[in-house]
């Protein structure tokens, strides 16, 4: 039997791919990787079991994927898909159809929370349980091995039974776990697939050679009976499954049952559950059995169709107390789905007389959104079962101090076997820690007899992200489906973690601790804060240090320290002989990077060789020597909620917060990113006032609002800190009386360097010195912290004084700051600019994607308020419906505004006439003067209303703020706008309503990892376009222009800020729908984003990204609505394409195809230019307001 070390997603996809002919998918976390693997294998022409390469097709949404699947199985193909969460929900209508037509299909779901009060990418069964009425069989697996096996069983049984199968496993916990599995080879799989059933499936296919009709509409006379006609297929399904499982066992030795019982044969207390939690329960039950407890666990493999017969066959007769656990929540239900199913089963059996004594049945929820489920919780549940009066409904894993449902568990309990080695690694996203840990698991899993498991936890930041790797190795099967709490090896790969987190808390007594720090062994101990020293002494660890950053740097690997740390891990962990381990690492480096090129291999090998010489043990002194405490993560002046809740989330202690700490409806305060001082940049930009020309390019391009430009009234600067330098405002006409300053937020900067790159001011004697230069953060941190606080505290200058041109706009205070977006992100500057323009009157409907993650992922969020407490209000509904959500906002605003206007009209006789006139006068959202005047009038109105006796006065006072207009913007990426949300976007544009849509176009699905969208340009390699996309990018702008009444602009602010600023203002001032398509440089393009301004300029100059504005207001003036801001092509398309890896990869892979696609891209640009130039010359006849041509 061959063993492989695989991630859950790969383990499942490897089976599904081989068992399928058609694969229709759409990316969604945490299932995306299954589609990606399939696409990759297909592009390598890897055959399925029957010698054919499956067709892998990416659709525009999961609904589209499901429709394509429906067609494929109706056409007689063997088909599959992979999805999760909302994706599964979008498939539901087709799933009913597929099941209703008794069509074999096995799909695989990495089960994930369905978004409710908040989105969560993490795992639970709420999605799968939402699909339980579709008629699909629901098959659960709880580990990587089981998922691999159950995938095969699922594909076989659906063919045998004609009932479609939804195979699910826990998102992240199983889908992303890496484990050693016994791999199913082709022969085993082939033998399992029932050839006769495949032939039957083919025979039922739709073909004009033997025509039938399906999908009829049926009336009350037929539908019901026809629905019942399928019953026998469901009745027989359990037997089919049992047969397949038996055949599977014969060839693999792994015998699954519909319900697998583990425990005491005469158990009195048992737990029933499904998924990865069952593995933890299994491990705990075995431990409890050793302690003499009569307990057991019943693992449910087949949830639907629920087989009473098999359930009771597995249930020990002695059982008196059953706890059923559901990893989902159904608010208001008598119980969660599995509990109700078991409950029904028991009641049926009792009613039939099969059961003479009814066991006591309690039900609980656990593990929502990947919340940990541990042996301690299993023990707590058994303890609850033993009580005289247990809680009939309970939760575990949280502290519920509101409805008091939670059970208390012993957090200190650890039952892990002594012979399992546990290693924990704290890494930075970009330092390669997870990659090398995956390599280590492969080394140990495939190179030794040991079993191996890896689980990886990522935070939600896209820059400076933290990763925690949990690795287990041991001689026995690993069932621990929970994180490591007591590590015997603990490595901290970045020194800042020591200052930020309780990293040593999880070190077991006597553990080996390895730190990557820039300190010598002699000074290392004294550099540690008090808390760290105390813990290390308490645990009596062995402490080692290495300056891995230096070793990696000297080997030419920049800051990529992973191979250095990997070598140290093997040297210290004592799992393999040192020399053997190093040889394994080197082989692994050659295998992994050899395909990239020999130099990468050479440098990594050099780093490995150098690493052990720099590894030093630090003897522990007998006592704590440090007086220095770990600095608080947030300052003491933060609001109470931030102190009590946000701080714990930031510290990684959020799980300890009780239920009462949380908002009940998903409502959170904005403006919290300012409290999360991450300090992730090594170097930050420092201002040289003597050189500055006050162009404000730096703040305009900064993705994180970490470099700020403002003007101040000199009278407001009288108490400035010593180092708070300002200069006379000289860059902008009309405000020369003010003082100007460029301020860095050093602890919020990501160090991307864009600001310095675009700074045009140079020292004449030493031109490399600019008006801002990157300097070590630590040298400037303290001073700039004081300066920043003062900078932010100064009153805002009257906004109406700031000119709305490209120099003036960056002087307005942004209400979007310090997001967790990638360093160099090309999306965020657009959002910042929008908030500078209209942030205090802005409602945002945000499609799911990067912008919803950096915009709204806890612990902290970047949208903030001005000094009056106003600012953007933000919501994310789904991926596909942002435009509709925004339209809803607009409808609500208009309704409330109408009501307020009506109330005002009604109360008007009792109000001063001038006030009413002020409130009824036009007020443009873009006009700060009008808005300020309107707000003043509203204040006045509210004061007046206090003294007015009118039945409507109270309601008018409450709605008066709606008399000030608001701006509604919809924000999303190209995946939303071009693909999944296109229908809604199109409809909202067509509605003619006053709503603005901002498309942050990165030309791929960035958030899920670079899958192609219809915005992907010709010639670009992307996931699902591994051979280079050969069709043209959809011209979204042109489609929108075709309506005639939509304002449309295509912009690129990194290189053409003035045009972008103009477009935003024109869109905002347009009383109707507006669409802005914004070129957004992204790490998925594959180049150093510090050059994004230059590269975007090439995109514009090559006509890969022409700039234009289409303004319907020009038509009545007799002007062509389309204005081209890009005139001629200034650089060849090739010159643009050769700078980005997404195009260059194709050149490396297939130069001839690259040439063809360069030519095609050139031709596409030329065609577009020709078309646009003609459109820009068209003079449309003005239409009358009724839309009819007079006197035709």
């Amino acid at each position: 039997m061959a063993f492989k070390t695989l991630e859950g997603n790969e383990a499942v996809a490897s089976v599904a791919y081989r068992c399928s002919e058609t694969i229709a998918i759409y990316p969604i976390t945490p299932s995306s990787a299954m589609g990606e693997y399939s696409d990759d294998w297909a592009s390598l022409k890897r055959p399925n079991l029957w010698g054919v390469t499956p067709q892998v097709v990416e659709m525009q949404s999961e609904a589209g994927a499901a429709g394509a699947l429906h067609g494929a199985v109706q056409g007689g193909a063997l088909a599959t898909t992979f999805t999760a969460s909302q994706g599964l929900l979008l498939m539901l209508p087709n799933m009913f159809k597929i099941a209703g037509e008794l069509t074999p299909l096995c799909m695989h779901v990495a089960a994930r929370s369905v978004a409710t009060h908040a989105l969560s990418i993490f795992g639970d069964h709420s999605d799968v349980m939402a699909a339980r009425t579709t008629g699909f069989a629901l098959l659960a697996s709880g580990s990587v091995q089981e998922a691999h096996d159950m995938a095969a069983i699922g594909h076989a049984v659906t063919l045998a039974s004609r009932v479609p199968v939804l195979h699910f496993f826990d998102g992240f916990r199983t889908s992303h776990e890496m484990a050693k599995v016994a791999y199913l080879d082709d022969d085993t799989l082939r033998a399992l697939m029932p050839a006769d059933a495949i032939a039957d499936h083919r025979a039922r296919r739709m073909t004009p050679d033997a025509p039938v009709i399906r999908g009829t509409s049926q009336n009350p006379d037929a539908f019901f009976q026809a629905r019942e006609a399928a019953n026998p297929f469901y009745d027989r399904f359990p037997e089919h499954l049992e047969t397949v499982m038996t055949r599977f066992a014969e060839s693999t030795g792994r015998h699954y049952k519909l319900f697998d019982y583990v425990g005491h044969p005469q158990a009195e207390r048992i737990i029933v559950l499904m998924g990865s939690g069952a593995e933890c329960a299994h491990e705990t039950v075995e431990w409890l059995l050793e302690q003499g407890h009569k307990v057991g666990v019943l693992k449910v493999r087949l949830f639907r169709p629920f087989s009473l017969q098999h359930f009771f066959a597995a249930l020990p007769d002695t059982v008196r107390h059953i706890a059923v656990l559901d990893r989902t929540k159904e608010p208001g239900a008598a119980g969660e789905p599995l509990l109700l199913e078991i409950s029904g089963a028991l009641m049926t059996a009792w009613s039939q007389g099969q059961l003479t004594q009814m066991p006591r049945l309690i039900g609980g929820r656990y593990g929502l959104s990947s919340r940990e489920f541990t042996p301690a919780m299993v023990c707590a549940i058994f303890a609850e079962l033993a009580k005289e009066q247990p809680k009939m409904r309970f939760t575990v894993g949280i502290k519920d101090d509101v409805t008091h449902l939670s059970l208390t568990d012993d957090e200190a309990l650890s039952i892990e076997p002594a012979d399992t080695r546990r290693a924990l690694f704290f890494g930075l996203g970009a330092d390669g820690t997870v990659s090398s840990n995956k390599a280590s698991i492969k080394i140990l899993g495939e190179g030794t007899e040991l079993f191996a498991q890896g689980h990886f936890v990522y935070d939600s930041k896209k820059s400076g992200a933290t990763t925690v790797s949990h690795l287990r190795f041991g001689p026995r099967w690993i069932r621990s489906s929970y994180r490591i709490s007591q590590a015997d090896f603990l490595a901290v790969h970045a020194p800042q973690f020591i200052e930020r987190f309780d990293v040593f808390e999880q070190a077991a007594p006597g553990a080996t601790v390895l730190l990557n720090v820039p300190w010598s062994p002699a000074e290392a101990w004294d550099q540690l804060p008090y808390e760290a020293q105390r813990l290390l002494l308490d645990r009596q660890v062995r402490l080692f240090v290495i300056d891995a950053t230096r070793v990696a740097d000297e080997a030419g690997l920049d800051k990529r320290i992973n191979t250095v740390m990997q070598a140290c891990f093997f040297a210290l962990a004592d799992i393999l002989p040192k020399a053997e381990a190093i040889a394994h690492i080197k082989r692994s480096i050659e295998e992994t990077w050899g395909r990239r090129g020999p130099e990468i291999v050479r440098r990594n090998l050099e780093a490995v060789d150098a690493s052990l010489a720099h590894l030093h043990e630090v003897p522990l002194p007998g006592k704590v020597t440090s007086q220095r405490r770990r600095p608080p993560l947030i300052s003491g002046d933060a609001p109470e909620f931030v102190q009590k809740v946000t701080r714990l989330l930031m510290e990684g202690q959020g799980e300890k917060l009780p239920v009462s700490a949380f908002p009940v409806d998903g409502t959170w305060p904005t403006g919290t990113a300012q409290y999360e001082k991450r300090g992730i940049a090594q170097e930050v930009p420092i201002w040289e006032s003597d050189l500055c020309v006050q162009c404000n390019f730096c703040s305009m391009i900064c993705p994180h609002s970490a470099i700020l430009t403002r003007v101040f009234d000199p009278d407001d600067l009288t108490a400035a800190p010593d180092l708070f330098e300002t200069v006379d405002e000289a860059g902008t006409e009309g405000i020369e009386d003010l003082q100007y300053r460029v301020q860095v937020a050093a602890e919020d900067c990501t160090g991307c360097g864009l600001c310095v790159e675009v700074c045009p001011a140079k020292d004449k004697q030493q031109p490399k010195r600019k008006a801002i230069n990157m300097q070590p953060r630590l040298a400037h941190r303290d001073a700039e912290e004081i300066n920043l606080a003062y900078f932010r505290s100064r009153p805002e200058v009257d906004r109406t004084r700031i000119p709305r041109n490209v120099r003036g706009l960056p002087l307005l205070i942004p209400l979007f700051e310090f997001s967790g977006a990638c360093a160099g992100c090309g999306e965020t500057p657009y959002i910042r600019l929008l908030t500078q323009l209209v942030g205090d009157r802005l409602m945002i409907a945000n499609a799911t994607g990067c912008s919803s993650i950096y915009g709204g992922n806890l612990p902290t969020t970047p949208y903030t308020t001005d000094q009056q407490g106003r600012g953007p209000t933000w919501n994310n509904s789904l991926f596909e419906d942002a435009a509709e959500l925004g339209l809803g906002f607009r409808l609500a605003l208009d309704s409330l505004q109408q009501r307020a206007a009506y109330l005002l009209q009604s109360v008007a006789p009792q109000l001063p006439e001038t006030l009413v006139q002020q409130l009824q006068a036009p007020c443009e959202t873009l006009d700060d003067g009008q808005v300020a005047a309107r707000r003043a009038a509203i204040v006045n109105l509210k004061e007046q209303l206090e003294d007015i006796k009118h039945p409507m006065a109270g309601e008018l006072a409450r709605l008066a703020d709606e008399l000030c207009p608001k701006s509604v913007w919809v924000i999303g990426g190209d995946g939303w706008a071009y693909d999944i949300g296109y229908g809604g976007l199109d409809h909202v544009l067509a509605s003619g309503r006053n709503i603005k849509l901002l498309v942050l176009d990165t030309e791929v699905y960035s958030n899920t990892g670079g899958q192609q969208s219809k915005a992907t340009p010709i010639g670009a390699i992307a996931k699902f376009a591994a051979a280079g996309k050969e069709t043209r990018k959809k011209d979204l702008g042109l489609l929108a222009m075709s309506y005639g009444h939509v304002y449309v602009a295509q912009i690129g602010m990194q290189s053409h800020a003035a045009q972008a600023a103009k477009a935003f203002q024109e869109a905002e001032s347009y009383d109707g729908p507006a669409l802005i398509i914004a070129h957004s440089p992204c790490i998925a393009h594959g180049y150093d984003l510090v050059h994004s301004a230059d590269q975007q300029r090439r995109a514009v100059d090559s006509w890969a990204w022409p700039l234009y504005r289409f303004d319907p207001r020009r038509t009545p003036q007799g002007l062509p609505p389309l204005q081209l801001d890009s005139k001629r092509q200034k650089v060849p398309m090739r010159r643009y394409m050769e700078e980005e890896a997404r195009f260059r990869m194709l050149e490396l892979r297939d130069p001839e195809r690259y040439e063809l696609l360069v030519a095609a891209a050139t031709e596409a640009a030329a065609d577009r230019r020709e078309l646009y130039q003609q459109l820009a010359g068209i003079h449309l006849e003005a239409q009358n307001p009724d839309g009819e041509h007079p006197h035709d």
Binding site: T29, P30, S32, A33, E36, D39, D40, S43, L44, I121, F172, G429, A430, D431, G432, V434, S435, K438, F456, Y458, S460, K462, T467, G556, L557, D558, R560, W593, R595, R596, G597, P598, E599, I600, R603, P760, K762, K764, P767, I853, S1006, N1007, T1008, G1009, G1010, I1021, A1022, K1023, A1026, I1083, A1084, G1086, Y1087, D1088, A1141, R1142, M1145, L1148, R1149, P1151
Partner: protein, 332 residues
């Protein structure tokens, strides 16, 4: 008509006009047209190890370091196994040229590491190159390495490549050797078969508006020819290495002068970049006509006729001439 056949690095060339290393060598139809009208061989543009390494490391930094860093995005590009960054593209191009051209194809190599020089040279030989032109270029900016040490290092590189391959190796030199004949003798000693004089380095220019350095390509002109002629004239008869002129040949007479100075071959780049294959046709015709008018039956007869060894006024190649020229240049 004069027989233009020549031997370069032991290769029989129908014409001394060789398309020098430049981006044109990516363009097969143009090369075919050049061969059609008189090019005797083609040198591919250089395989730059430094560029390959830089691209590998950039890929490592901007692609690989974004693998497994995010909960939602496993990576940002499809699996990387099909995108190896190395000499593959170059070798494929070499293979194409070999398949479609009827003249020798010479690969050009610029390495930076000892292993890089020899490793790539072996690959080039295996891919069918008829010869290898080593593009030696060291920016001497190390205050601890003197000229002798630098030259010794370069000779060691040449030696290692010569040892690693069986095809002939020529070396393209910078014009800045203080003791060119001795260095060329050194090349001979370590087994090189030819020397190309000289490389043209694209020196940066300045943008005085923006206070930055600029990197525009400036094509050669015939003003650059004399320094080549001088070197050829000086070395003819003193080295048994084959010699080629490179830089400044735009007319048939330029080529004729190079041959009369001692060149076995004359490389064309700027003229072809400007005019395309027509330049080859023109120069070939002019050269043939000139040599014929001069009464040479073969190229060999003409080669080196005006070198320091054979010229009637050979002292003109020497320093004395420099002093006279300067005097003659004084304003009247």
């Amino acid at each position: 008509m004069t027989d233009l056949t020549t031997r370069w690095l032991g290769l029989e060339l129908a014409s001394p006009l060789v398309i020098g290393a430049c981006p044109l060598t990516d363009d097969l139809p143009v090369l075919q047209a050049c061969v059609e009208v008189g090019a005797g061989a083609v040198v591919m543009r250089s395989l730059f190890e430094e560029q390959i390494v830089a691209e590998q490391m950039a890929a490592h930094k901007f692609i690989d370091s974004r693998i497994s860093t995010d909960a939602e995005a496993r990576s940002f590009f499809p699996e990387s196994e099909r995108f190896s960054i190395g000499s593959n593209t170059y070798l494929r191009r070499l293979d194409t040229l070999k398949k479609h051209l009827t003249v020798p194809v010479i690969a050009s190599l610029n390495g930076i590491t000892p292993g890089g020089w020899t490793g790539y040279a072996t690959e080039l030989e295996q891919a069918g190159a008829d010869a290898i032109e080593l593009n030696l270029y060291d920016l001497a900016n190390d205050t601890n390495e003197d000229a002798a040490a630098l030259e010794a290092r370069q000779l060691a590189v040449v030696a290692s490549v010569v040892e690693a391959v069986t095809i002939p190796v020529s070396v393209k030199l910078s014009p800045f050797y203080s003791a060119l004949p001795a260095f060329v003798a050194g090349l001979d000693k370590v087994g090189a078969r030819g020397v190309v004089m000289f490389n043209r380095f694209y020196q940066p220019d300045m943008d005085l508006e923006t206070l930055t350095l600029t990197r525009d390509v400036v094509l050669s002109s015939c003003q650059e020819l004399p320094v080549r002629l001088h070197a050829l004239g000086l070395l003819f008869g003193r080295t048994k290495l084959d010699m080629a002129a490179s830089g400044g040949v735009h007319q048939g007479d330029d080529a004729a002068k190079a041959i009369l100075s001692g060149a076995h071959a004359v490389q064309l780049v700027s003229a072809v970049l400007m005019e395309g294959p027509a330049a080859v046709a023109r120069i070939h015709k002019q050269l043939t006509q000139r040599l014929q008018d001069m009464g040479y039956d073969t190229l060999a007869q003409a080669r080196g006729a005006l070198s320091m060894t054979n010229a009637p006024n050979a002292h003109a190649w020497e320093r004395l001439n420099y002093a006279r020229l300067l005097q003659g240049w004084q304003p009247k």
